[in-house]
């Protein structure tokens, strides 16, 4: 059927590239030292030395946003990485084992899906305490369930194909078939799913940091910046715009990239933008 116009994919790539570049740049340079507090210069509007203004402690908003990009990416990458490390092997194993193994993975998935990701993260941070690491754990668990399900579905389809049957007939064991034939063929689906989960992780991290459960100060986070901005809506309304814009552009970039990749890998697949 129809191929997605390439410009949207490139736009996605550009946005994600920009995000990465900003995050990397923040390691070397920010307009102001990121934690520098200057209470006398607080809640300045954009313009002047502080291009995007200052927050309620007089910290430079642009610097906070730049380092926030790094934190946001780090949490999302860790959550997706953890999800892939757990979920992909589980999904492959479920498809290879069939029967009981398959059933077990499916039921575990049901259990995880019964709790919306943000909900389980709230519960988990109540047990383990708030903080980036525990958010990674909670989101990682959810991602693992999603990736296990997706990998299993894709792997089952590969197992039914001719060349796998041929390999089995030649006496290859399930492990070797999985590694040699199944894994390379499900990788595309996994990568596409990963970009989508990456976007979801960025939003969820922001939501949890907004609630005060995620990345902790002095580390800046977009979600926490939004939470702080909400208390200053009357005095500094623009503070509520920039961090949200950063989140939205990152997510937009990742979904565009994911859609583009999906169409490229499988032109027959209609991109629905869903998990």
């Amino acid at each position: 059927m129809r191929r997605r116009l390439p410009w949207s994919f490139w736009l996605g790539l550009a946005l994600v590239g920009l995000l990465l570049a900003v995050a990397l740049l923040s390691l070397l340079w920010t307009p102001f030292p990121v934690g520098q507090v200057r209470v006398v210069a607080r809640l300045r509007p954009p313009g002047g030395a502080n291009w995007l203004g200052t927050d309620h402690f007089g910290r430079d908003v642009l610097s906070l946003l730049m380092v926030g990009a790094r934190n946001s990416l780090a949490v999302a990458a860790a959550a997706v990485g953890l999800g892939a490390a757990l979920g992909v092997p589980l999904g492959l194993a479920a498809a290879a084992l069939g029967r009981w193994g398959d059933e077990l993975v499916a039921r575990l998935g049901d259990l995880v899906f019964a709790f919306p990701a943000v909900l389980s993260a709230i519960l988990l941070t109540a047990v383990l305490g708030a903080g980036a690491v525990n958010v990674v754990l909670a989101l990682g668990l959810f991602n693992a369930a999603v990736l296990a399900r997706v990998t299993r579905g894709a792997a089952l389809a590969v197992w039914r194909r001719e060349f796998v049957r041929a390999a089995l007939a030649l006496g290859r064991g399930p492990l070797s078939v999985t590694l040699v034939h199944v894994l390379p063929n499900v990788l595309g689906v996994v990568v596409v799913q990963t970009t989508v989960l990456f976007a979801v992780a960025i939003v969820n991290e922001a939501a949890l940091s907004y609630l005060g459960l995620g990345v902790q100060p002095p580390n800046p986070s977009w979600g926490k910046m939004l939470g702080d901005a909400q208390t200053h809506l009357f005095t500094a309304p623009l503070q509520a715009v920039f961090p949200g814009l950063a989140i939205a552009l990152s997510v937009l970039g990742l979904t565009l990239l994911g859609d583009g990749l999906r169409d490229w890998l499988d032109p027959r697949h209609r991109s629905s933008g869903l998990l």
Partner: protein, 315 residues
């Protein structure tokens, strides 16, 4: 078909049961003593012990779990530790906020999405289509809690049309109550509408390729009539499916958005109960939400299986 539904119901029950174990076990591990929280820094050891006994926390965990699950099976969710009221009453009281909020946002999102989907198809490849696709792409990228803050900024802080938070209660009249729910519902509805608009567009495009539509077109039925009378009804099943699947996201979104607007709904009850270590309330609400999500997923599965017997192999 019946066998599939039966099997699905069994796994549903299994999942719900496992969920009660997980929730209970997790909450056993939560640090903090509900009695100490209630009585504060000057509480004496004997007072704390008396309160713990009053709360029933002096029994071993297994016994408390069995008692709680036994209550659940009889439809008894227990009594809140902080509010000293039946959890069922608390839930009912909060549902009158959360349920209208969810329904309102569902209504708003479908009311926007279906016309948008139709518009995109009608203007396929032209400006209207691109506008809808753009909205869909951007709308999905907007976190609902940011939309919520922006809505407060524009409609409460700047224009003063809607309250910035809180809920006056239905006894204050339907109008003030709906006014308080409008912005939160919009915040939830916008990303939802974006997803649904795109699904609607794709689903209608799919049905347009089917034989009976071509026949209708060949018989001279107008393009609009075909869209509305033939393509749209057939496209509604996939839209409803996605809607069902999105419900769990709606639940999670409602937890956050209720906190942005400080709406006394189920999500805020849950969030506060965690802070207050009102374990009975947390257990009850989480299990109710989990069962709801699982139930909706199962219904979607069964509906899909009924409509199309093919995917019974895949889960």
């Amino acid at each position: 078909m019946l066998a599939f539904a039966l099997r699905r119901s069994l796994t549903l029950a299994l999942t719900a049961w496992l969920a009660t174990i997980v929730v209970f076990a997790v909450l056993e591990l939560v640090p903090g003593d509900p009695a100490l929280l209630m009585l504060g820094v000057n509480a004496q050891a004997d007072t704390l012990a008396a309160l713990r006994a009053q709360m029933g926390l002096d029994h071993p965990p297994v016994e408390r779990y069995l008692r709680w699950v036994g209550g659940l099976l009889r439809g008894d969710l227990g009594v809140s530790l902080t509010y000293a009221r039946p959890v069922a009453d608390l839930v009912a009281e909060r549902l009158v906020v959360t349920l209208p909020l969810a329904l309102l946002s569902l209504a708003l999102s479908t009311a926007a999405a279906i016309p948008l989907g139709l518009l995109a198809v009608a203007r396929r490849g032209r400006g209207g289509d691109w506008a809808v696709l753009g909205f869909a792409q951007i709308g999905v990228a907007l976190p609902s809690f940011w939309i919520a803050i922006l809505l407060i900024l524009v409609f409460s802080v700047t224009l003063g049309w809607f309250p910035a938070g809180g809920f006056p209660g239905w006894e204050a009249g339907a109008l003030p109550a709906l006014r308080a729910l409008t912005l939160p519902a919009l915040a939830l509805a916008i990303p939802e509408a974006a997803i649904l608009a795109r699904v609607t567009r794709t689903a209608i495009l799919d049905t347009l390729g089917e034989d009976h539509i071509r026949t209708a077109r060949a018989k001279g039925v107008s393009r609009t009539a075909v869209l509305l009378r033939h393509a749209l009804p057939n496209a509604l099943l996939p839209v409803a499916t996605v809607l069902g699947l999105q419900l769990s996201f709606l639940v999670a979104g409602a937890v956050v958005v209720e906190n942005v607007f400080t709406l006394p709904g189920l999500g805020r009850l849950l969030y506060q109960a965690i802070g207050q270590r009102d374990l009975i309330v947390v257990q009850g609400v989480v299990v109710l939400l989990a069962v709801f999500v699982v139930l909706v997923n199962a219904l979607v599965d069964i509906a899909c299986a009924a409509a199309d017997p093919r995917p019974k192999a895949a889960s």
